[in-house]
Point group: C2
Chain length 215, copies 2
């Protein structure tokens, strides 16, 4: 007994939402067509009707994951900071916080990351997403390098941006699996001291209005 019909768009959305829920719990391994269908309360045949191959579903989920995870959104508070290095450090700090608080999502991302070495399509998607994310940091890094030439002698904005991404990912990863022995606050403080000067603090209170979105 078939259920209600729905528009193409709505169904795909529904299925993808279910797919994310399934993958967030059981990883890419647990992401089976039948599990997704069950979660969405649909027949597994229907899932394969809208996504012709399982691979399509996996790839579509990756798109959704990347779009919501590696998008740098900087608050006005941070943008108003007078010193470029302070801005850079503040953005890094913000992202460390954000990604550490979504271990499920980060774990899933890392699974895709590992999958990328065997799956061409996944690899290119992850690669471009990373490049964009790094590029978003590059603008901040560039300002920081120009403003503090002595501090960053010989450091390129690209290299500095890559380091920022490493610090952020490294923080999220270490927190993900080693939460018992890993002290996030200490890590964050140390990163801040190593990268920036020990000066001005960022105002942490107040509304965090999304201001600049760097794709």
């Amino acid at each position: 007994m078939p259920g209600q019909k729905a528009s193409e768009e709505a169904r795909r959305e529904q299925i993808l939402t279910a797919a994310y829920a399934v993958a967030a719990r059981g990883g890419i391994d647990g992401l089976t067509v039948r599990a997704v269908a069950a979660r969405a309360k649909l027949s597994h045949g229907l899932v394969l009707f809208h996504f012709r191959r399982k691979d399509e579903l996996v790839t579509a989920l990756l798109d959704r994951l990347l779009a919501t995870t590696f998008l740098l959104t900087v608050s006005d508070d941070v943008l108003r900071l007078p010193d470029a290095l302070d801005r850079f450090v503040a953005v890094i700090r913000q992202e460390m916080d954000r990604l550490s608080q979504e271990p499920r999502r980060m774990r899933l991302f890392f699974e895709y990351w590992a999958l990328g070495s065997r799956h061409r399509g996944v690899r290119t998607k992850v690669s471009t997403a990373l490049s964009r994310y790094r590029a978003a940091f590059r603008t901040f890094a560039e300002d920081a390098v120009q403003t503090h030439p002595a501090r960053f002698a010989g450091v390129t904005p690209e290299g500095l941006a890559a380091i920022a991404v490493s610090l952020i990912n490294g923080c999220a990863v270490q927190a993900m699996v080693d939460s018992e022995h890993f002290d996030i606050a200490e890590y964050r403080a140390s990163a801040q001291r190593v990268m920036g000067h020990s000066g001005a603090r960022v105002a942490r209170r107040g509304p965090r209005v999304a201001a600049a979105t760097l794709a």
Copy 2:
């Protein structure tokens, strides 16, 4: 027609070697009992005779992987460097090189890492391995902090060690999937400049004798 017999130890070793080969190529997903048996030219029944459950095989492979991957071995050349910060930076640089050159192994490690969030045994093994690795860096970090108190004001050795691990992992990871747009040399140079002073270079030529092994 059964083949030759072998000692318990030798068979386990043979099977684990095959398991690593299989997993290095196809990931943990591809690590099936039958695939391992085929690679070792044994029957799949025999694999399950020596490792009663597949899980045992997976766990044993993780042990082997961790033992050979996250073991910090520092050359005499590095240990002879007069400045503690130079030593620290040199060790980081060495590890970035080493792990970037073994993408297969690192990928497999990350797969286990992700698996850890769902598998208790894996999680604890990965966690302790990471802790030890970080602890090995801690000694170098401690010296660096003490020798350059102004440079690392307010930075704890633990935090600095965690940052070092992040930089190393981040480098390996970014190189792993994004090798087209990611410039390892630039990354390494930037990390060196950010962490240390821009001074003395490490002698890169000459025999690299393993000297200190920090478990």
